[in-house]
Symmetry: D2
Subunit: 344 residues, 4 copies
């Protein structure tokens, strides 16, 4: 067991105590299966309300890669591809799950993890201008994350532009909210659930990284955008026999606004750490407001800090500098933050 101070990622523990409590209380009740239970129904109703999307279809998945592969597959035609930042999760860390469904990830340039409406438009126009465009993978969807892989946030204005560009060009917009609660806990954020429901064709509200044992909630604001979606989930191996396990957790998350506030300690912790880093002369590699902190470090700095702290390798910056990540989470303790700061 690694006993160093844990800042490696934001899914190293179980669930938020309130969530665990609720799982415990309901444990021996017998309910309907495959997500038809009343806990899941209640959770879906609360999510619809939070999204101000009364007709939305809500579906519960276990994890992010499964969610992305299934949602993308369910909406694209076979010869269509999905546009994503080269740094997007589907572009890198899903082992080809999107391709397994037969779809290309069409990679767009990024800036601090974000893509622009302009780069989406350019990709569409490149396809349109090709005299043999019927031979070319057709852009069918845009995939973005909020926060991005680099912890940055799309502003409401940026998201609106992207949404408009998508819809003017026949593209669907899908937003991966694996860490959405970290955005909601962040004062820089101005994009809320009703905005997502209004601007996206589909998005998911992350659970795994935001306080549940596991689970993600997919929201299709428009009812029946994908008919028989349950069968698509089943064929992807994404239907949980005891669907309530995710339902109960999301029901708890959307009770008393827990989801909206659960990540505040993580954001506070990140702020403190960023301040300490800057004060001690470290260079932040990315200007991100959420729970992920990206630092340009020398080999010596990495070795020194790694002795006592779990941090993550991101990529080489230049011959002498490497981008490393410190990641806080909803369960990060003040004690660990203090210990870390003392070591910087």
């Amino acid at each position: 067991m690694d006993t160093r101070i844990p800042f490696a990622c934001d899914y190293m523990e179980g669930a938020h105590p309130i969530v665990m409590q609720r799982l415990m209380e309901t444990n021996l009740m017998k309910t309907d299966v495959y997500g038809a239970d009343h806990f899941s129904e209640s959770a879906k109703a609360k999510i619809r309300e939070a999204c101000e999307a009364p007709d939305a279809d809500v579906w519960f998945f276990v994890g992010g890669t499964q969610t992305n592969a299934t949602v993308i597959d369910s909406l694209l035609l076979p010869y269509q591809g999905v546009l994503s930042a080269v740094t997007g999760h589907i572009s890198i860390h899903e082992a080809g799950a999107v391709e397994r469904g037969g779809h290309r990830v069409i990679m767009l340039p990024q800036k601090s993890g974000k893509i622009s409406a302009a780069s989406i438009l350019k990709a569409v126009e490149t396809w349109r201008c090709d005299g043999n465009r019927a031979h070319v993978v057709m852009p069918g969807m845009v995939y973005i994350s909020q926060p991005t892989e680099f912890g940055t946030l799309y502003s409401l204005r940026e998201l609106t532009e992207i949404s408009e560009t998508c819809h003017e060009n026949g593209l669907l917009l899908y937003l991966d909210g694996a860490r959405l609660a970290y955005a909601f806990a962040c004062e820089e954020n101005d994009v809320w659930l009703p905005d997502l429901a209004r601007l996206c064709d589909v998005f998911y509200i992350g659970g795994t990284k935001c306080g549940t044992l596991l689970g993600e909630a997919v929201v299709f604001p428009k009812h029946d955008l994908v008919p028989n979606f349950f069968s698509i989930m089943k064929q992807h191996g994404a239907v949980l026999a005891k669907g309530r396990i995710v339902g109960i957790q999301f029901d708890t998350m959307f009770t008393d606004g827990l989801y909206m506030k659960i990540c505040r300690p993580a954001i506070e912790a990140a702020k403190k750490i960023r301040t300490a880093l800057t004060e001690r002369g470290y260079t932040l590699a990315i200007d991100s407001p959420t729970n992920q902190i990206f630092i340009s470090m020398t080999k010596e700095q990495i070795e020194a800090l790694s002795e006592n702290v779990q941090i993550s390798y991101m990529e080489e910056i230049d011959e002498t500098h490497t981008m490393m990540r410190i990641c806080t989470g909803w369960s990060t303790t003040e004690e660990d933050v203090e210990k870390l700061i003392a070591l910087l």
Copy 2:
């Protein structure tokens, strides 16, 4: 909420109290992710030991369909198919998950849910005799369940024959143990984990239906039969970020022999119900020794019993009879059994 006496299936509640207790105790500990945590390592070690298979590779999945699709995909060549009883789970209730991987389910005749070594051999010989057999889906694997979909058990002799037929004909043998703990709790059973490890190329030990919130443990008795299996899981969306959630549960299940005894109450309950049914003149449609009871019922009988009891539809037997299922589980209470019997 359905308040009738719950005999609809064996995954209507949460986890065994000891399992929940362990999840609670470990909840806020921070561990490594994606199944590299020490709980998962411990669980794997215990499973290897229980299987007397020290070199086995053990992998944790979330649910059965996902497990079947991934394991089958990982072992078959693209043009190979998997032989299964027409009543097998992959033959019916997985929405084409195996086909999604490009593989045919080659359906074999069954008797009470079981297939025979002879029918496997016949399928292979039909393929071999085809002058154009390079144009025919090649049999590559045999899929069976223990217990079967009809609650029956392969005897050690039957399983040995099937295993020998497979290996003499270049077929891999895969056993789906979604309800394996029900077999182990059954006095008729003479097939144990070391037998499975000896006779099968791969099998899974079911958790979801046998006392966990979710989770199945795949065992490849021979190390590295499938290199890079983790990447295959990831591409199938089957890697859990918080892998420990399944690891902790299986670690508990394989502590103090819990997995071997957890289903005894279910088997006792089923026995009592079967006796009562026979005494009251019902006809058992299948002679199954485990927790699933199949009854030939008239429309009137079904309506009467359904008023107070959740039972499941299986299939039409003839114009006046339907096969219905009563299913007990590890959490079935004596009280509910008594209530049910009083209603028969």
Copy 3:
């Protein structure tokens, strides 16, 4: 080289001399590519006219398996399967090409290669009655062949019933006409191109076995039933760079009614051979009116005849009899027929 009298199958030579002549004449002309040439346009217009389907979309493929896989893939939703006789070409001799597209071939019982409206209905109702039908591969399409793999013909009445059953139950009807010209040359036939265009959602007019070097013409009677079908073909590797190679051949086939009469010699030859077989006491295993003759033979008879004649193995009938096939074709010569008859 096998110098025995060639009755092994109906695609052992090149193309009909008129077709070859036309390929020769047009050889050095330069035209547009990927099927946008005027020869292909002309062929499509003639096919539309012959089908009395002025709005039909017509597409040229190279071979049957490619055609079946692409057409089926283009019309089914991911979780849907295609119903086919257990003896259908897609059920046996396509090495899992349909499954490669993610779809199950749902196998129906057959009689002399044909399926019935009743068996289609039964399959649909089995799916509908399953309480968990969202977990079951959904029937989406019916696949039949005219003539069937056993050389038999659906009557107009039978085809009409099948078509009605399909459309009343939300199924598409696809007819594989690999040997369609053999039906058209047969006096028993009462199903013509306009009938197919009226009753089927899609069908193909076989070229490879009916007089071309290669090529099949897919007809969607309703325009744009599948948008962007060209891209689907391309993704399946089914677009021919020199599309005209198939276009010119079909243009020739549909000039002066060649396609309707090209197989008459094959049918005449088959009739003569059947008569001779019956006279000499052989048992016909299937009562088929087209160019394929199925005979129940003893091992000794097979050995004797095979010495001088190429015939094909079909399947075992019983311990002493095997079903063998004699196959005539449009290029079968009277001389070879006489030689064969002399050897019976």
Copy 4:
């Protein structure tokens, strides 16, 4: 019909007259099917000899996209991707055929259509350095074309470097020779069939663009690198019933060295046109020695030339210039070359 001077591409006509002659002569002979005929056997033997690869497996396909998709699928593990220039044929003009097989095309930077050993190595190292590389598509193969999409040639030294880099890093090397005969007709070329057989794991000798009606010959220098390759072809819809149609054409192509010299007129024509272009002040956008000529043209120039000549759009260079292509072929006449030059 487009009556302008045809320089749009190199597959606008039928086959070389000698090839057509041979198809005509053999047309009514009856042979074995699915490529088991003696013409195909003879063609394969001649190709093995030309490659100095006596153990090579040779397979005939119909077209390029089908070939690429099948070969790549046959060699990659599910979670592996294929490295290709961003301008590679599989990267752009195959409508996602590689992705349909579940594989990512990992795009590398290019220079005049070529990739370097260094960029391959960099891609492998990026994968290797990722701490979560089991979550990343694994590089499994390198795909290059000779000539490239921009008509350029890899030198023997460059190809040797690429081959060594591949094999030192566990990558297979696949070379797409759709226009290989244009390389062989080019005096700048120093890579011959035995070099390809020595340096590549698999490559294909293009027919469609090099003098046949259709057809490509895949060469695996090492016997049985992919067992049961025929079944993989069949499952991809890539087996031709009348396999001889391709076999006869390649047999002719490899008789009297036809394949090695067939494209000389195309290279001569391209040289003349390039000289004329340069003399008249046009800018060549790419320095390519084969039959494809890439010119940087203004809108006015394009309009003027397009009135009388078929040329192809490639891509925008800057706000005022566009890259256009003039393409000669084995059948290009001196007369058309003179006419074109007169119009420049």
